[in-house]
């Protein structure tokens, strides 16, 4: 099977906008969760989030005018992709075949202009008919909506921006499978490379739902934390008193290459992706299967592709040294994910450290998986496991090693990264230390 390696990584997150800063802050167990200041959320059930700050996308592109005022998700993508591209060294590689250089992103939609939409819908509301007057709606839409902003709503727009920045003209896909999107994108990008359809793929995710309608939607689902206290304490995966997830935003991007291509240009692999598993719960639109059927299948399939027996040991230790959990801080996810890990790893489960970086930066939705995979690679490179913070009140039903509150040194050679999404989307990646 064609080996696929990671040669570049980059991220834009609530904890910072470069690899080193974010990594240091995660190792320090810092939280980026704070009061939302992008709009006045003070009356909303949830008033806090993990917000990207001090980020100017123009610093990450060669010529901003090429990009036609990108939406925020595209801005994040450009920022993360620049870091990954520069780290990979592909910009210096003159023989790069652009028709064999593609992208597979898990990007969300652009940011909806809630102020304009609320004005348009309410002003065109026909009280007698109890519905919008479509003629009036069209009139107000023409007056109030920014046309390019509406074009930028399409989830495939980050693909165009990233492609344009680097001239990539190979296979290009965008998937949007809720919170599992970027893990799925990376897994399928690996598959595109293994199928021989490309030499290089930029893959990852980008998303922000940190706007009034996004918070509204998740508040109505009662999926968001409404914690009444220090926002930094709100995201508490695996705690007994976990009360929902905290919204985040950002992007994680990776450069993936066939090992053959990386070798040919003298690149240094950062790690190797050795397994990808994907499954559908096919159960209910609102609930995970109570036995963790789908997540367990995804983890099991990913490990099988990596030729790893999760119940085996190497010199008395599990073959996987770290699991980056989906770990949303909802009652259901954290419970089912724990169950799935136990199902797959059996007696090894208590000995595999598991942590959730969502405790520190919130849930980056479509982008979460790619940022979490980068975390795994950083763990392999630095020998540090980042903690699950705010784990002061452990749930007695959840009895794995969640790396509570404090980062830990560890020899890490192989990691599993889980992402599960609304609608029963389950995706898992396995990444290993690169060995010749």
């Amino acid at each position: 099977m064609t080996r696929v390696v990671i040669t570049g990584m980059g991220w834009v997150t609530p904890l910072g906008n470069d690899l080193d800063t974010v990594w240091k802050r995660m190792c320090n167990g810092e939280s980026a969760i704070a009061t939302i200041d992008r709009f006045d959320a003070s009356s909303f059930p949830t008033t806090f989030a993990g917000q990207v700050r001090d980020f100017d996308w123009k610093e990450f592109v060669q010529n901003p005018s090429v990009h036609h005022e990108p939406a925020m998700n595209s801005q994040f993508a450009l920022g993360a992709a620049r870091q990954a591209w520069d780290q990979s060294g592909l910009g210096e590689y003159k023989d790069l075949n652009l028709d064999r250089s593609g992208m597979y992103l898990g990007a969300g939609e652009g940011v909806l202009d809630f102020s304009a939409h609320s004005m348009i819908d309410t002003h065109s509301w026909d009280v007698e008919d109890g519905k919008v007057d479509a003629v009036a709606w069209a009139k107000f839409a023409r007056e109030r909506l920014d046309e390019w902003g509406e074009v930028e709503q399409e989830p495939n727009m980050p693909l165009w921006h990233v492609a344009k920045e680097y001239g990539l003209q190979g296979p290009a896909f965008n998937c949007l499978t809720a919170c599992a999107a970027s893990t799925q994108a990376i897994g399928e990008a690996v598959s595109v490379l293994r199928a021989g359809d490309a030499d290089v793929m930029i893959s990852g995710g980008t998303h922000t739902m940190l706007h009034a309608l996004g918070i509204t939607g998740f508040n109505r689902l009662t999926a968001l934390s409404t914690f009444d206290g220090d926002p930094r304490k709100a995201s508490k995966p695996f705690s007994k008193d976990r009360g929902g997830f905290v919204m985040g935003e950002g992007s994680g991007m990776l450069v993936l290459e066939t090992l053959e291509h990386a070798h040919a240009r003298g690149a240094t692999p950062l790690a190797e992706i050795v397994g990808f598993g994907s499954s559908a719960d096919a159960y209910r639109i609102t609930d995970l299967h109570p036995e963790g059927r789908g997540p367990a299948a995804a983890i099991r399939n990913a490990l099988a592709q990596a030729n790893i027996d999760p119940t085996s040991t190497i010199e008395g230790k599990p073959p996987v040294q770290y699991i980056s959990a989906h770990g949303t801080s909802t009652q259901e996810n954290d419970s089912i994910e724990t169950k799935a890990i136990k199902l797959v790893f059996g007696d090894n489960a208590p000995n595999v450290p598991v942590s959730s970086i969502k405790s520190m930066m919130g849930h980056l939705i479509a982008a979460a998986g790619s940022v979490e995979l980068i975390t795994c690679v950083m763990s392999i490179q630095t020998g540090m496991l980042v903690p699950t913070i705010n784990l002061d009140n452990p749930d007695p039903e959840l009895d794995l090693d969640y790396v509570p509150n404090v980062a830990r040194e560890a020899q890490v050679d192989c990691c599993v990264s889980n992402s599960f999404g609304f609608g029963g989307q389950n995706n898992t990646l396995v990444v290993k230390r690169y060995e010749t």
Binding site: W125, N156, T177, S278, A280, R293, G424
Partner: protein, 440 residues
């Protein structure tokens, strides 16, 4: 080394368009040369410059009637796009002769964990009536919107599961639940290229051994004020109010083309390994011989790129182990958007040269409107039907076209062994798929 190159076929076709559910209704219209376009009836389109669409009357399709009793409650949280996908999927499963959780209590034809689902979806636009009804509760007396009231009270007027109606992966989510497909499931969101890219992914998933069959395709509803407005913003729509000759409204590859119109619909196909299809005595409609996917390098995401089109086709030809001379019929996007038509013609000319003008084409947009994420699936379904029937459907549009043999014509019988389906998209993705005749 690349993974195994197992042959993959289309063993079932499900279609939903303005003509109704089923490839038969669409095919009959295309044989007769009868467009399904009409002035929009779902809402008053007078405020828009483009007032015509391929619209499926809501009374002609009730999703509640086709889902199992256990899933009827869930239809309340389906948006129109999801309803279309569920309708097309049911049609596809029936077409392929599969038993699933939705069709009977008998054991499924294929084990649930060996069935994947890849459905292209669009940017699902919120129903303005549903959202407006909630928003208006936070309208102040002076007419402005009260965000503080919305946060504390107004949002309570939205149904709790409102967000779940509009997540793009809900098309695949409902389909996987209805048919109990537990294999890999994905949602490709690349505008018009979504369906073709979904089929590419299904084939890749099958070839890597993660599934034996996939429900694959796409669906989208653009007959909605917000969705229509968003297409208006692209500048791709034809100005029209329905008083025109709708048979010739969309003129693919004509110098008189003025743009496209929206539609709603899509298709789901059963993409299956030939081994699986043969083992269950299925009847393939056609084989998927080659696929090429490329990204545009045009100056705008609203422009198609001839190089991407050419490169995608060449990749598909190599995979199909054939040359341009082996292609009997081309199914381009043929949207009537002048820039897209020009790019398609230039890309095709680079591959086919002077012979392009003599190769028959099929264009679906003049019949159904541009169904965006569902459009490619409609095109591929019609291509599969043309291979099966060995018939070229009638073409609508202009009497004269430039570069391609795409002018108005009647249907006719012809030998069709290989069909090329090309789909460039808003956003710059392009997919080319070569379908082949499967000998009985």
């Amino acid at each position: 080394m690349p993974e195994r190159q197992e042959q993959v076929v289309i063993s079932g076709v499900g279609v939903i368009t303005c003509f109704g559910v089923g490839i038969g209704l669409l095919w009959d219209a295309m044989i007769e040369g009868r467009t399904g376009l009409k002035r929009i009836e779902r809402f008053d389109p007078s405020g828009f410059s483009s007032q015509v669409a391929g619209e499926l009357p809501e009374d002609d399709f009730k999703v509640r009637k086709i889902v199992p009793k256990s899933h009827r409650k869930a239809t309340k949280v389906m948006c129109r796009d999801t309803e279309l996908a569920v309708g097309a999927a049911a049609d596809a499963v029936k077409s392929a002769g599969l038993t699933t959780a939705a069709t009977s209590d008998e054991p499924p034809t294929i084990a649930p964990d060996r069935v994947g689902c890849h459905i292209g979806a669009g940017l699902i636009s919120a129903e303005v009536n549903e959202l407006g009804a909630a928003l208006v509760t936070s309208k102040k007396e002076d007419g402005t919107f009260d965000l503080a009231h919305w946060g504390s009270e107004g949002m309570q007027n939205l149904t709790p599961l409102w967000l779940l109606k509009y997540l793009p992966n809900m098309l695949a989510c409902h389909v996987t639940i209805v048919h109990n497909c537990q294999g890999p499931s994905n949602t490709i969101t690349c505008c018009e290229a979504s369906s073709g890219l979904s089929i590419a992914e299904s084939r890749r998933v099958i070839r890597r051994g993660d599934a034996d069959a996939c429900l694959s395709g796409g669906a989208e509803d653009r007959v909605n004020p917000l969705a229509l407005y968003r297409q208006h913003c692209t500048g791709r729509l034809a100005d029209c109010d329905g008083s025109e000759d709708l048979q010739t409204l969309i003129k693919p590859f004509s110098e008189d083309a003025t743009g496209t119109v929206i539609g709603e619909g899509g298709g789901i196909m059963i993409v299956e390994s030939k081994t699986s299809c043969t083992a269950r005595n299925g009847s393939p409609w056609c084989s998927i011989d080659g696929i090429g996917c490329r990204q545009s390098f045009a100056d705008s995401p609203l422009e198609a790129d001839p190089h991407a089109i050419e490169s995608a086709i060449n990749k598909a030809l190599v995979e199909a182990n054939c040359t341009a001379n082996d292609i009997d019929v081309i199914v381009p996007l043929g949207s009537g958007i002048p820039q897209f038509d020009t790019a398609e013609r230039d890309g095709l000319t680079s591959v086919f040269g002077d012979t392009l003008a003599s190769i028959q084409t099929i264009t679906t947009v003049p019949y159904t409107g541009n169904c965006m994420a569902g459009n490619g699936a409609i095109a591929i379904s019609v291509a599969a039907k043309a291979i099966k029937e060995q018939t070229l459907p009638a073409r609508l549009g202009a009497n004269e076209t430039s570069g391609l043999l795409a002018s108005r014509s009647d249907s006719k019988s012809m030998s069709i062994n290989k069909v090329l389906v090309v789909t460039p998209s808003e956003g710059g993705q392009c997919v080319a798929i070569i379908l082949g005749r499967v000998e009985a």
